[in-house]
């Protein structure tokens, strides 16, 4: 498995939508390299014949009646939003103007 470097962290931070300054990127790269190194034995633990477990206690086909159930009112849904208008979430520009 590849080691994690500063460029990787910068790319990952972008994917995860977390702005990071140079100092943070340096520190995070050092710390993550140690952590990634310590977990790498995991990839050698199980053979190809071992099935993956995604869920500790498997349940299948958990359904409910297809009727309107417990829902928030518009007012409740917007109550914690940083900005709202006309019964909707208000966001800054989606696209950068060029």
């Amino acid at each position: 498995m590849a080691a994690i470097n500063r460029d990787d962290v910068a790319h990952l931070a972008q994917l995860a939508h977390i702005e990071m300054n140079d100092e943070e990127l340096d520190r995070m790269a050092t710390e993550l390299a140690v952590i990634v190194d310590s977990v790498k034995s995991v990839s050698e633990a199980a053979g190809a014949d071992v099935p993956a477990t995604s869920h500790p206690i498997p349940l299948t086909n958990v359904m409910r009646e297809d009727v309107v159930g417990h829902v928030l009112t518009v007012e409740e849904a917007l109550s914690g939003a940083p900005d709202a208008a006309d019964g909707r979430f208000k966001v800054p520009a989606i696209l950068e103007e060029s």
Binding site: L12, E31, L32, I35, P56, G80, P82, D83, F89, P92
Partner: protein
Amino acid sequence: MSASELIRSSAASMAAKLAAGEVTSVELVQAHLDRIAEVDGGERGVHAFLHVNAEEALAVAADVDARRAAGEELHELAGVPIAIKDLIVTKGQPTTAGSKILEGWMSPYDATVIKKIRAARMPMLGKTNLDEFAMGSSTEHSAYGPTRNPWDLDRIPGGSGGGSAAAVAAFEAPLALGTDTGGSIRQPGAVTGTVGVKPTYGAVSRYGAIAMASSLDQIGPVSRTVLDSALLQEVIGGHDPFDSTSLTDPSTGLADAARIGNVKGMKIGVIKELHGEGFQPGVENRFNESLELLRNAGAEIVEVSCPNFGYALGAYYLIMPSEASSNLAKFDGVRFGSRTLPAEGPLTIERVMGATRAAGFGDEVKRRIILGTYALSAGYYDAYYGSAQKVRTLIQRDFDAAFAQADVLISPTSPVTAFKLGEKLDDPLAMYLNDIATIPANMAGVPGLTLPGGLADEDGLPVGIQFLAPAREDARLYRVGAVLESLLEEQWGGPVLDKAPALASTAAKEAN
């Protein structure tokens, strides 16, 4: 009975006093609010609470007293107060998850466990401190400052649920709710000399617990006695259609199991890999004493081996951050929580999101999100997340083999006693090692309980003993836990918390 004696009682005995009319719920709640005012605040306070819910708690208490006086039949725990870990959403009280990003946020709905607590008419004293989004083993990663261990105010109370454990240990509440993803109920229980239980995955609804790692998270009880945790799990457990991972099993028979009072013929498996090397000598000594007591009480002690537990920590630190990075994507500065604008440049949603998450999340949260994003990225998924999921299968197989030889398993809960505040803050790996004995239960979904096993010789600090049972066999934990608790208390001449130092009043100091 004086207020200071009253708050040291168990929840079960508080319930009995309420039923007998020896005390009112208002008196009981007020005694706890007074205790919180006395020891929780100030520079050297315990700081277990992020929010105190005095007005509502007293109103619920007064309502219980009126109903009781009118002869209404009430729930056994009606009028007994409880503290809530601030990861669980509550109407009428802020929910922060210990994060700046949710500072002051008010949930528009109640978690299912909160609805059940309201239905039982248990007054909620407030919301307890935690590592940000439950990520940590010391409560030092809270954005609102650490909680202090009532046994030694310079030491950590464990984490992430250090607030709930410390509140119960400091007699600020008889009961609390916690959440346990890798040990966040059990490890704080161990280092504060209290009881905590991670129920079987799905035995208690997670609807309204802010998710960290959905395939591992579990809500559970925190208390000072095994019976109290059993009573609380009966209140909060059971099927919930709002949580599709919820089991349909009823949450009954747990308090009865705690009252059985014997372990004759029970087979108890000592997990070879979870004691000895890497465990503090005082922890090991108390652990061996507990084994001896159980053996003398008629249990059969056998050794079991779980060879794949050695991979559990590594697999956990791939699965948990992967799931956390997805779950925390919802904190985007649009739907709830804070919004931070970038200092310069164009104001697009993407840049606002980046600035919001940079300002709102602490270091540990950022570390786990980046690690999870890495483990889930194309080209690494199979080697990381995929391999870790295979390790989960191996751990489940280890448990299956162990439970073929034993009814319950036993280990120390934490390899060490409470360490000093700040000691492991700059070493994430050292911090992660605290959960080595608690993580396997989350990986396999099996239930686990911690109870105090005494004090370590070298530092006089509490040691936790952990029991593990097969999935859906939570009752076994309460049975064996209550027996060991009574054997130990007989030896000590009272509960372990009687040996904790008295807390100085921080309220008085502030007035000086």
